[in-house]
């Protein structure tokens, strides 16, 4: 513990990209979101999950990393030798049918049951709205329809709140049985990868539990950065560091450090 940031061979974002990539199992169909997940999918497909298949909401399916670095899923290298170029409704239909194993979404605000807000901070009426965020995009669909989803977040007390102001992307609602009650037929978040650690969900209560802390981060730091009394796994592990091979791949996909620089 206590390795100084400057002396590390990787940035926090690189650690998060790697941790997210490791959630992808070989052969899985992955609905790839914007930002860090763009890199995580390419990393996984180049490392431990060569048979993973990437699905992108603008209507792309591809099973290999783009031949050149990309900043958005619509960058032309991401279309080159894709396995399918189609309609948003086509790829969303795959998702709705249950053909997508996992997906990633990011958020501004999350609560203990993994409900995610990327729409409104404060309230929904003028005067009450403190901050208007960009909205769902495909995130609500991924949270509702993928077999599981992974949340990627900055870990701060103002973002980790007891109850989100607005559910853009449903997690487990108010706990056990909620997804079934509202009509969601599958899925739910299985991990939250933050700037401090990795959290998972108690299968019995659907509540978030601290599973691992990143190197140099203490459990107390995580607790102090969480807006409710966070449950902690009996034995909190340290998030595995990226290997040299993984680091080389991340830097190949993000050579300028646009997503993973300091």
């Amino acid at each position: 513990m206590g390795i100084e940031r400057q002396t590390r061979a990787y940035t926090m974002a690189e650690l998060m990209v790697t941790a997210a990539a490791r959630e992808i199992r070989d052969g899985e169909v992955v609905f790839v979101g914007m930002r860090l997940p763009l890199l995580s999918f390419q990393l996984a497909a180049s490392a431990h999950a060569p048979n993973a298949i990437g699905v992108y909401e603008l209507g792309i399916i591809r099973n290999a990393p783009a031949p050149e670095p990309i900043l958005t899923m619509g960058d032309l290298p991401n279309l080159y030798r894709a396995q399918w170029l189609a309609d948003t409704l086509d790829v969303m239909s795959l998702l709705q049918r249950g053909d997508v194993n996992m997906s990633f979404i990011g958020g501004a605000q999350v609560d203990r049951f993994g409900n995610l807000n990327t729409s409104y901070i404060g309230g929904i009426t003028p005067g009450k709205i403190e901050t208007r965020l960009p909205g769902s995009g495909g995130a609500c669909d991924l949270a509702c329809l993928a077999k599981r989803h992974i949340i990627i977040m900055t870990h701060e007390k103002r973002r980790f709140v007891p109850r989100v102001d607005y559910i853009t992307s449903p997690g487990y609602g108010d706990g056990t049985g909620w997804r079934e009650r509202v009509g969601l037929m599958r899925g739910g978040p299985t991990a939250v990868i933050t700037t401090l650690g990795v959290l998972r969900f108690d299968p019995a209560t659907c509540e978030m539990i601290l599973d691992s802390v990143h190197p140099g981060v203490t459990v107390d730091q995580v607790l102090a950065s969480t807006g409710w009394e966070l449950r902690v796994a009996p034995e909190v592990r340290q998030t595995p560091e990226p290997t040299t091979d993984e680091m080389a791949l991340v830097r190949r996909f993000d050579p300028q450090g646009f997503w993973t620089g300091e």
């Binding site: 603008l58 031949p67 619509g74 960058d75 729409s119 960009p134 609500c140 509202v182």
Partner: protein, 307 residues
């Protein structure tokens, strides 16, 4: 009744916007999500000082923010409004936070289905998304229903039937037949749901170029109202086969939209100061244009449509 011998639909961008985007219209833009966003058409809407538009689109990478900043929009029906690689759209944020715009919050799937319902001529379509979300509280086009066959709880998405969809494509003929390739986003749904379609094309080609490859035609020409020659008209978004995404423009826009004052300067330079595609390209500069052009061509084999 369709005209058996269609006359040319080729008109100027300015004419197309004047004729088919009246004040108060519901307009679909940015159907490709990150690609083929009709920025040139959006900028012409700003130059013509259109007002009270309802903007419809899934992601609208940056263009909606510009139209909102310029005061053109009364309402937005979208899944996401911002700048994809930087996050927030500041004009959008200001307008919502100050109560200056009406918002209907969609997901990409509910928006695609709303347009598909419009395209199909049905009042709604069912889906399993959005259940349990708060989209229902900020979108009156969504309601929960019980399936008449299975008794499952579902989301019903009300149809959207826009006045006009503006599609940016690679090539079109003067009669309104257009080739689009790459990812399609919600292009088909939006085009078929709308009363009018404006095609903005990188190139205008002979009808036979389009006819020789009918699978690539994105919407039936009989539904197209106007064809516009708009080279580089999707810049800074990418167009497959033509040019790459100009990331720098999106990065600069984050700075250039942070306050109404800097946005006004941005608009004066890039919209009001570049009234034609030639003027816009001159502003962009030869070096930048050359950098964005394709470096690696990857042509597909021709297919045989013969008999």
């Amino acid at each position: 009744m369709m005209d058996p011998m269609p006359t040319t639909k080729l008109i100027s961008l300015s004419q197309a916007i004047t004729q088919f985007v009246p004040d108060g219209a519901t307009v679909v833009l940015g159907v490709g999500l990150e690609s083929c966003i009709p920025f040139a058409a959006g900028h012409e809407i700003i130059r013509q000082r259109k007002r009270d538009l309802t903007l419809v689109g899934p992601i609208s990478d940056m263009l909606f923010d510009q139209l909102i900043g310029a005061g053109c929009a009364r309402a937005v029906r979208a899944a996401w409004v911002g700048n994809v690689i930087t996050g927030s759209g500041y004009n959008f944020r200001r307008a919502v936070e100050n109560g200056n715009i009406q918002i209907e919050d969609h997901s990409n799937l509910t928006l695609a289905l709303a347009l598909r319902a419009g395209a199909m001529g049905v009042p709604f379509l069912p889906t399993r998304t959005a259940l349990g979300s708060d989209l229902f509280s900020t979108n009156t086009s969504l309601k929960t229903i019980t399936c008449p066959f299975t008794a499952e709880r579902l989301t019903a998405v009300s149809a959207i039937t826009p006045d006009v969809t503006i599609l940016h494509v690679q090539r079109a003929d003067a009669g309104g037949h257009a080739h689009l390739w790459g990812n399609f986003g919600v292009a088909r749904e939006a085009a078929l749901a709308s009363r009018h379609i404006i095609i903005c094309a990188e190139e205008i080609v002979a009808a036979e170029v389009i006819e020789r490859d009918p699978n690539r035609v994105i919407a039936p020409g009989l539904r197209v109202s106007a064809v516009v020659h708009a080279p580089w008209g999707a810049h800074p978004s990418p167009v497959p086969g033509y040019y790459n995404r100009d990331h720098q423009m999106f990065l600069d826009y984050q700075r250039d939209s942070q306050t109404p004052e800097v946005f006004a300067k941005w608009q004066a330079k890039w919209v009001d100061g570049a009234k034609t595609s030639d003027a816009y390209l001159e502003l962009l500069g030869q070096e930048r244009i050359a950098e964005l052009r394709l470096k690696n061509h990857a042509r597909a084999e021709a297919v045989d449509y013969g008999y």
